[in-house]
């Protein structure tokens, strides 16, 4: 079970809805992933462009929508985006993301913290995409965020848990859910995140840009379930030396005649 701001989810996988080849494929991936939280973005309506209604089909699948503030470069812009998102989606849940430079799309820690403080004051349930910095994550927790979402690696890079050592400290110190967001490339990355003690993962590119996104969504579902089971079961200690798993029976020496 994953509990965020008092709400319980069975799935520990959050899914981003971007980069799919079609709305239908995205919906099929949502179903195959078993996710209960799906992120969306806000965009200015393009005059004359066809209106694509994502809201109703996702609502029909019974998932909770989590709008993001993608595009915001400052805290002020993120707060404005949040207010628009709350009106458009009818939810005060928000994925806060402020990444001003396009090359690595890294979260701006100062603006993210500033926006988080303001949005928590305004009553939002804030889930910030943030740097894998234990101190920063603590500050976001103290600001009232409902979870922290540190990155494993840059958005869409499929590099996996490059920030592993820092993520382990974040997980150790957190009193709110830790959701590893961004950079997960393979289902095994998701399993590892859960094994390390993360409460959930958010995946988009690794699923949407695979050759068969619906099957990959299922693979991530199973990988996350495996990670959750492993986390609940307790991993064995790593040790430098071997520990025998069978009896080392000494009585086989010189036992049978005629073999040498």
């Amino acid at each position: 079970m994953l509990t965020i701001a008092g709400k319980t989810f069975h799935s520990h996988l959050l899914l981003g809805s971007g980069k799919f080849q079609s709305a239908l494929q995205m919906q099929q991936a949502v179903r195959a992933s078993g996710t209960e939280l799906v992120t969306l973005a806000l965009k200015r309506l393009q005059p004359g462009a066809p209106l694509d209604d994502l809201f109703s089909p996702l609502q029909a699948l019974g998932v909770q929508l989590l709008p993001n503030t993608s595009g915001a470069r400052t805290a002020e812009e993120a707060v404005q985006a949040a207010l628009l998102a709350r009106e458009a989606v009818g939810t005060h849940w928000l994925k806060l993301e402020i990444h001003p430079e396009p090359k690595y799309l890294l979260p701006d820690p100062r603006e993210t913290l500033k926006a988080a403080e303001k949005l928590c004051d305004l009553g939002f349930v804030v889930l910030p995409y943030c740097s894998a910095d234990p101190l920063h994550c603590k500050q976001l927790e103290q600001a009232g965020c409902a979870a922290v979402m540190p990155l494993g690696a840059p958005i869409g890079s499929n590099q996996g848990l490059q920030n592993r050592a820092m993520l382990e400290i974040i997980i150790e110190q957190a009193n709110i859910p830790v959701i590893i967001d961004a950079g997960l490339g393979a289902p095994s990355d998701a399993t590892l995140a859960l094994e390390l003690g993360a409460n959930a993962v958010l995946v988009n590119t690794a699923i949407a840009s695979s050759t068969d996104p619906v099957r990959m969504a299922q693979a991530f579902r199973l990988a996350v379930e495996a990670g959750v089971l492993a986390q609940q079961s307790g991993l064995g200690m790593r040790q430098a030396r071997a520990q025998a798993s069978s009896p080392l029976e000494p009585g086989f020496a010189h036992l049978l005649a005629g073999l040498s």
Partner: protein, 66 residues
């Protein structure tokens, strides 16, 4: 004059609700800003668009994103 997302529009609408209908906006997943004020959908029907002044309307829609 009506400006929709910073472009001049030839549309003529008596209220915001009327405009939304002409634009065939979805009934959910949309946020609308009129003259820098975020207006909840519940207020669209009672928000007139007088022809005496310019109106700047920004319309945002939910799209796919991670």
């Amino acid at each position: 004059m009506l400006y929709i997302n910073q472009q001049k529009s030839a549309l003529q609408a008596s209220t915001l609700a009327d405009l939304a209908e002409q634009l065939a906006l979805p009934t959910q997943g949309v946020a609308l800003v009129l003259n820098r004020q975020l207006l909840p959908r519940a207020l669209w029907a009672q928000t007139p668009l007088s022809t005496e002044q310019d109106h700047h309307i920004e319309i945002f829609q939910l799209v796919a994103g991670g």
